[in-house]
Symmetry: C2
C-alpha cells in the first residue's frame, strides 16, 4: 500500500531538490545565488568550508517528516546528530520561513538568499554544524555523541512530543551514543513522548569508513532488537523508490508509536506483548545527488564527499563547470521564482506555524517554561544554638527540601532528579518519600522504590544523566544532577558544550531563558577517604571556572543551612550552570538560617566568632572555601587562640567562589572595598580551599598583592585512609594551617616555639594512632568549638 | 560431556570457598583471621568498608580461569571491571603467593593473613577496588567503563595473550563500555591476541537494579550477536551445576578462540564463514554464598549485598553471630592449616610462576617493554635561513618522522597511533606511506589506506582511543594519541585516572616503567576558526596541569623544529603523560633545528632577534607560549619596533609550560636566577598564552611579583570566523599586545599616542575587511618578519 500519490512523490522530490540546492549553495556561493548568471570564480567564497556529505540525507529525512506532520498533525522535534549538518537544517528553516522570522535581514528573496549563503561558515557568520543559532534545534552538532540522550531528555514528561533523532554513523561510534540506546528502558509511554531514532548510514567519516555502515542488515537487526527496538530498513540509492520506502517506514513507525502509547495510556488489550519501539536504519550514499567523480576518483558515496567535494572551483574552471552542472541539476529556476521565492506549490508543502520543525516550541523551550514551585527553604533549617557544636548532614536536609519540590510540582510534572545510581549514596533518600526511581523493566520484590512513574532517573552513566537533563532543561523544564565529584569529570566536555550553548544564546534575543543546570557534588574529594585515591578529584571546578563568567556560578556552602539557601537560589535561577559542592557526611554546622542567608547573599564574609581580631587589623587572615577546609580553618583559629592568643587572627569564609574574582572577570566579584574589608590590603592570607590550589592563585590575581595569598588545597595526595588523614596528606590540616599562619607573621616567631612543637607532635601522634587503631583520634573526631 | 571430574569439581569448589572466605574476612576482620577463637567485637575493624556483592562472582570466574590455564597452558590476563572488586582479586593473589612475593610482610601464614585483612580499606592501606597495588592488574576499578577497552589495548600485537575481561552489569551501563563492544571490529586474530568478555549480571548497583540483568536472555543474545559475538550463558544459582556450566562454557569459548586464531593464522579452510568471537554471560546472585537475610530483609541476591551486608556486627551480637556463621560456612579450618597456610591439595590447584594471573608478565608490562627505535629527528628538520620568513606545517614534518618510526619498528610491532578519525585531518598523512588504518570489516574500492594489518587505529571515539592506548602502554608498548584539542576533554576523567595510576606506581617499587602517554593536540582552539565556537576549547591543559608534577609534562612547541625535538623527547620518556599542543596549519617558522633543540632543552628562552632590548633591562617583556600566541607576540614586538622604537622590548618564548612554575611545584620549574634572567624581577610582562589565562596566573604565583604578569589567552570568545579574528575576539592580537605593552610603561605614554591610534585603526580596519571580503586582510596573512 503506497503511502504517496505520484503527485505527492514528485512534490516531495522537488522540495528535497530545493533543500539540497540551498545546502550546496551555502557552502560555495557568495553571489549569484539563483545562478541566473553563468557561474564565475568571483561568485565563489574565498574559503570553502562546510560539510556536504551528510546534508542530502538530512534533507531527505526532513521532507519526509514534513509529510508525516501534514498527514498526522504530529508534534515533531528534529534532532540532528550528524556533525556539521547545518547546511540541511538551515536550508529547511529558510524554506519554511522561520529563518526570516527570526533573522529578518535574511529575507525570502534573492537578496536574502545571497545573505543566507554568504553568512554560512564565514567570518562572524554561523557555524557549519547545528548550533543555538539554528532555528528548531536544541542540539549542538559540534561534539558528537549526545543526540539520542538529548532526544530522550526532550520527550520526558512531554507526552505529545515525538523527537525524530537522526544519528550519524560517525556519531554512532562514540561511547555516549552507544550508551544511549538503552534510554528506552527509562521512557514511560504513558507519561512521556516518543523518540524515533533514524540511524543514517552513509558509510564514511572524514576519511575512514564507519563501523556500523559495514555491518550487514542482519547484524544491525539483531543489535537493535537486542536493545529493544524494531528496526525498519530504508535503502536510499535510487531517489524515487527511496522516497516511497521512507514514507512507508515513517508511517509504520508512527503507527507503531501511537499503538504503544495507546496501549500504555488507554490500557488497550495487548495480547500480553509490549510492542518494540520503532527505529529506522537509512542507508544512503555519502554526498547523495552530488558530483559523481573528479579526475577518476569517486566522490558521491565515498569519503571524498565528506566536506567540500570540489575544493578548487575558484581556481580551476573545469571544477567550476562541474559545480555549476551539479547545482543546476537541481533546476533552481523551477524551484524558486525570479525573485528567489520558493514557488507556491512547494511553499505549500511543509507544515505551518509551530508545526514547522524549525519553529517547534519545544526547540526554544524557554517559552514553555513554567516556574518551579519551591517550598520555603527556611523550613528545612537545622536549628543551631551556636556555631560549631551541632552535627548535621547537609544533604539529608536538602533531601527533605527536594522531596517537597517533587510534591509541590506533582501537577506540573516538570522536575526530575538525574543521578548515576547515587541518590541514596548521596543521602538524598528523603525524595523517595515523594517519588521513585524510574524503570520500564520488570520490578521485583527485592527492589527499593522503583516504578515506571518514578521521577528519579538513576542510571550508571554520567553521560546519560547529563544529556537527559540537558534535553529536559532545553525544552523548558527543571532538574538537578547530584554526582560524585571525581566522576562528574566524565562529562567535562558535555558541560563545556552546554556552557557554550548558553553563552551563545545570550547573543540571540529570540532564544528564551531556560532553567539553570544544577550540579550537586556531594561525595567529594575530601570525604572519599574510604573509596581511595581514584575517587578523590576536585577538578570539575577547574573545568567550570574557565567558562564564560556570564554563564557559570560556583558555590561551596560550608553547612546545611548554607546549602539550602544556595540550592534555593540555584533552582530559581536561569541560563546558568550552577556548581554546588557540599559534603554528605555528618559534620559540624556553623550558621543558623538567618546568618546563612546573609552569608550566602554576600558571597563571603568574616566569621567574627571564629577569629580574635575583634575588628582590628588582623596579623593574619585564615580564609576558607568548602566544608572540610572550613572545619580545618575554624579549628586552626581555635588552636591558635588557645596556644598563641597574642596572634590576631581573622576567619573569612567564602561560599560564592567567584566573589574572589575581580569584578572585571566575573559579575559576582566583590567590589574592591568589600574585598579589602575582608582580606585587608596587605595581611598574609592562609587560604584553605576545597579544590586544586591554582584556582585561588588565579582568582586573586588583580586583587591587592596577590603574592600574600598562601593556598592549601588538594595536591593529588590521597589513598584509602581516614578523613583527617586526607587533610594531613595534603598539608591542609588545622595544624598545618596554624603553623603556616605562624610562619607568615615574623613578629610572633619567638613566642610561637611551644605552639609549633605541639602542632608538630599532634601530627606525629595522628600518624601513629591511625596505624594502630585504623581510625582517627577521638580528639579529632570529637572536636567542637567551645 | 562434563569437563570436570568429581574430584576436580570438589577442589574447585573448595578453592572458591577459600577465596570467598578471604574476600569476606578482608572486609570485616582486624584480628582472629582464621576464626580459631569465637568471633568477638574487638576482632572487627572499627570502620567497615568494602564491597562484598561482586566478590564471589569474581572469585568464581577466577578459579575457573585457573582450571583453564592448567588444562591449556593459556596465557591469561584477568581484567576486573566491576567496581570495588579488589577483595576477590587480592584473595586470589594471596592464595597464589604472588602477594607475598611482592609484599613480603604479608606472609602466607596466620600473621600475614591478619595483616592482609587489616590493610584492606583501612588507613594507609589499600583501596577496595582493583588498583596499581593489585598484583596482576592493569586496570583501576574506581571509575567504571574502561575494562573492555583496556582489555583490547592489552592484546593488540600480543598474539598469545588472552584477556579475560569481566564486565559488571553496573559498568555495562556506561557509555564508554557500551561503545567498547565494537572493538572486535579492530582486532586482527592473525596478529593480535583475544579478549573473552565475561558479562557478570548480578542484578544490582548500589541501590537500584541494572538494566542488563533485567533483559531476558533472548534480548542479550540478539544484542551480542549484533555486535558480532557468540554469547554463552551460564546460570549461577546453585554452585555445583554452575561450576560444571562455567567449565564447559570456558572450554567452548577457548576452543572457539583457538579456532578463530588458527583459521586466521594458518589459513585453515573455513567454509567461508568467520566464526563469531565468544562472550560469556554469567548470571549469579549478588553477594552469592553470603548471608541470606537479616530481620526479614533479603541480602543475598539483592542490592543489600552490594557493600557490607552486615554493618552493625561490632555493636549487635546477633549480627556478629550471623557473620561468624557466614564465615564459618566456608569451613576455613579445612582450607587452611593451623599456621594459616592453604592446604597443599588446594595450593597445588592454581597455575604456577608467571602463568598465575596475578603474576602475568603483561600485567606489569614495563618488564616486557622494548625501547622504541627512533630515527634522528634532526633529519626531518625544516631548513630556515632566518626566523619568521619561511612557512611550514609542523604536523606534516612530524608525520614524516612518525612514518619512519613505523618503519623502524616494523619487526617489533610495538607502536601504534590512536586517533578519532583525524590522522589526515591532523596532517599526519605521511604515516600512510608506512602503514594503514586498521579494520576487520570488508575493505571496499572506495577506501583509502585501510587493511586488517593497519597500525593506525581510527575510530570516532576518544574513549576507545584513550582506553586502547592505555591498555597498550600498560602492557609495555608505545603509542601516540593525536586529537582535536576541544574534544580531548571527552577523556578528561580517563586521563585523570591514568595519571593517578602512574603516580601510584611511583610508590610501588615492583611496578616497572612503562612508556609515557603522548597526546598531540593539533587542531587547536585558535585555528578552529572555521569549525566555530564548539571546536574552540583549550581546557585540557587545565585538566593536565593539576595532576601530580612527577607525572605530567606540557609542551607548546611554536614551530615544526621544536615540535620534532619535543616529540622525540616524549617518545623516549617513561611514566609521564606528555601533552603536546601544536598547530597543523601552515605557519611561520622561527627556529632552525639547532636553535630549536637548545630552546626545547631549556624550556624557555629569550628570542634576542625578536626584541630590541639588546641584553639591557627591558621596559617590558612580551612572553608567549603556543604557536598562535608566538606569532602574535613576535608581530607585536615588530610593530612596536617600527612604531615606537624607544620602547625596549624583550621577547620570551616558553615551550615547556611547567618551566614557569616554581621548582617546588614542578621539577621542570626554572631555577630562580634563570627565571629572573628571562623575565627580570620587576619588568611588566605581557604574556600571550595558548590556553585559559588562569594557568599562567597560577604558575607565576611564587615568582617575583606575580602581579606584573598580564596574561592574554582564550576567554571563551569565538565563532566561525578568520584565524586573525580569533585573536582579535580574545584580545590577544598583535595590536592588543602592543597596546597593552605600551599601557604598562608609564614613561612612554606621551610618545605613544600615534602608535596607539594606528593600532586601534588597524583593528577597526580588520573588522570591516573581514565582513566585506570574508577573509583576513593580506597584511595579516602575508605578514613576515623583516
Amino acid at each position: 500500500m503506497p503511502t504517496l500519490s505520484p503527485q505527492q512523490l514528485e512534490q516531495i522530490h522537488r522540495y528535497w531538490q530545493a533543500s539540497n540546492y540551498l545546502a550546496a549553495a551555502q557552502i560555495y556561493l557568495q553571489d549569484n545565488p539563483l545562478l541566473k548568471m553563468p557561474l564565475q570564480a568571483n561568485h565563489i567564497k574565498p574559503r570553502l568550508l562546510g560539510h556536504w556529505g551528510t546534508s542530502p540525507g538530512l534533507n531527505f529525512i526532513y521532507v519526509h517528516l514534513n509529510r508525516l506532520i501534514r498527514d498526522t498533525a504530529a508534534n515533531i522535534l528534529y534532532i540532528c546528530g550528524p556533525g556539521h549538518g547545518a547546511p540541511a537544517m538551515l536550508a529547511n528553516a529558510y524554506l519554511e520561513g522561520t529563518y526570516t522570522e527570526l533573522y529578518p535581514a535574511v529575507t525570502q528573496d534573492e537578496k536574502g538568499m545571497r545573505l543566507f549563503f554568504r553568512q554560512f561558515s564565514t567570518p562572524g557568520g554561523i557555524p557549519s554544524h547545528v548550533s543555538a543559532h539554528t532555528p528548531g534545534s536544541i542540539h549542538e552538532g559540534g561534539e558528537l555523541g549526545y543526540s539520542l540522550t538529548h532526544a530522550f531528555g526532550a520527550v520526558f514528561d512531554n507526552p505529545d512530543l515525538l523527537a525524530a533523532c537522526v544519528v550519524g554513523d560517525g556519531e554512532a561510534e562514540t561511547g555516549p551514543l552507544a550508551g544511549s540506546w538503552k534510554s528506552i528502558q527509562f521512557l514511560n509511554p504513558a507519561r512521556d513522548g516518543a523518540v524515533l531514532p533514524i540511524l543514517h548510514l552513509n558509510g564514511y567519516k572524514i576519511s575512514g569508513p564507519t563501523v556500523m555502515a559495514r555491518m550487514p542488515d542482519e547484524a544491525l537487526e539483531a543489535l537493535f532488537r537486542g536493545y529493544g527496538y524494531e528496526p525498519l530498513f530504508v535503502n536510499g540509492l535510487d531517489p524515487l523508490p527511496a522516497h516511497l520506502a521512507m514514507a512507508n517506514a515513517l508511517d509504520e513507525a508512527y503507527t507503531r508509536i501511537k499503538t504503544i502509547q495507546d496501549i500504555a495510556r488507554n490500557q488497550t488489550e495487548t495480547g500480553g506483548q509490549l510492542l518494540r519501539w520503532p527505529l529506522i536504519v537509512l542507508r544512503t550514499p555519502k554526498g547523495w545527488t552530488g558530483p559523481k567523480e573528479w579526475k577518476g576518483k569517486q566522490i558521491e558515496g565515498s569519503f571524498r564527499a565528506h566536506q567540500v567535494p570540489l575544493m578548487d572551483v575558484k581556481k580551476d574552471p573545469a571544477q567550476l563547470a562541474l559545480l555549476e552542472e551539479w547545482l543546476l541539476s537541481y533546476a533552481p529556476d523551477t524551484l524558486f521564482d525570479a525573485n528567489g521565492q520558493l514557488i507556491p506549490e512547494l511553499a505549500a508543502l511543509p507544515p505551518q506555524g509551530d508545526k514547522r520543525m524549525s519553529a517547534n516550541l519545544h526547540a526554544n523551550g524557554g517559552q514553555l517554561r513554567q516556574p518551579l514551585q519551591l517550598p520555603d527553604f527556611r523550613e528545612y533549617a537545622l536549628p543551631l544554638d551556636a556555631p560549631g557544636i551541632t552535627t548535621g548532614e547537609s544533604t539529608v536536609q536538602l533531601g527533605k527540601y527536594l522531596r517537597d519540590v517533587f510534591v509541590l510540582n506533582d501537577k506540573q510534572q516538570h522536575f526530575r532528579l538525574f543521578c548515576p545510581d547515587e541518590t541514596n549514596s548521596n543521602r538524598l533518600q528523603a525524595v523517595f518519600e515523594a517519588t521513585n526511581r524510574c524503570t520500564m523493566e520488570p520490578v521485583l520484590g527485592t527492589d527499593d522504590h522503583l516504578s515506571p512513574d518514578g521521577r528519579v532517573m538513576e542510571v550508571l552513566s554520567e553521560h546519560l544523566c547529563q544529556g537527559w537533563l540537558e534535553g529536559y532543561l532545553l525544552t523548558g523544564r527543571h532538574g538537578i544532577f547530584p554526582c560524585y565529584e571525581a566522576f562528574v569529570t566524565i562529562v567535562d566536555s558535555m558541560f563545556n558544550q552546554h556552557a557554550k550553548w548558553l553563552k551563545t544564546c545570550q547573543e540571540l534575543p529570540w532564544r528564551h531563558s531556560i532553567a539553570s543546570l544544577n550540579y550537586l557534588l556531594t561525595s567529594h574529594a575530601w570525604r572519599q577517604d574510604h573509596n581511595g585515591y581514584s575517587h578523590q578529584g576536585p577538578g570539575f571546578i577547574d573545568t567550570v571556572v574557565n567558562k564564560k563568567s556570564s554563564v557559570i556560578r560556583i558555590y561551596l556552602p560550608p553547612d546545611a543551612n548554607c546549602l539550602l539557601s544556595v540550592m534555593d537560589h540555584c533552582l530559581r535561577s536561569k541560563n546558568y550552570v550552577n556548581l554546588v559542592v557540599a559534603g554528605k557526611q555528618p559534620e559540624l554546622q556553623w550558621l543558623d538560617m538567618k546568618a546563612a542567608e546573609r552569608h550566602c547573599a554576600q558571597g563571603a564574609s568574616v566569621w567574627e566568632w571564629a577569629g580574635n581580631d575583634e575588628g582590628q587589623a588582623p596579623d593574619v587572615v585564615l580564609a576558607c572555601a568548602g566544608d572540610v577546609p572550613t572545619l580545618e580553618t575554624v579549628a586552626a583559629a581555635w588552636l591558635l587562640r588557645k596556644h598563641l592568643p597574642a596572634l590576631k587572627v581573622r576567619v573569612v569564609n567564602v561560599v560564592d567562589l567567584m566573589s574572589l574574582s575581580p569584578q572585571a572577570y566575573h559579575p559576582h566579584g566583590l567590589p574592591p572595598e568589600m574585598f579589602t574589608q575582608l582580606f585587608t590590603d596587605n595581611a598574609q592570607v592562609i587560604f584553605a580551599f576545597h579544590g586544586y590550589v591554582r584556582i585561588i592563585h588565579d582568582l586573586v590575581h588583580g586583587r591587592p598583592d596577590p603574592a600574600r595569598f598562601h593556598v592549601r588545597g588538594f595536591i593529588e595526595e590521597g589513598t584509602t585512609t581516614t578523613p583527617f588523614d586526607m587533610v594531613v596528606l595534603n598539608n591542609m590540616s588545622r595544624y598545618h594551617l596554624a603553623m603556616e599562619a605562624i610562619r607568615r607573621v615574623p613578629a610572633i616567631q619567638a613566642e610561637a616555639a611551644t605552639a609549633l612543637a605541639y602542632f608538630n607532635a599532634q601530627l606525629e601522634k595522628h600518624r601513629t594512632y591511625i596505624r594502630e587503631h585504623l581510625e582517627d583520634m577521638p580528639e579529632i573526631t570529637d572536636w567542637k568549638w567551645e
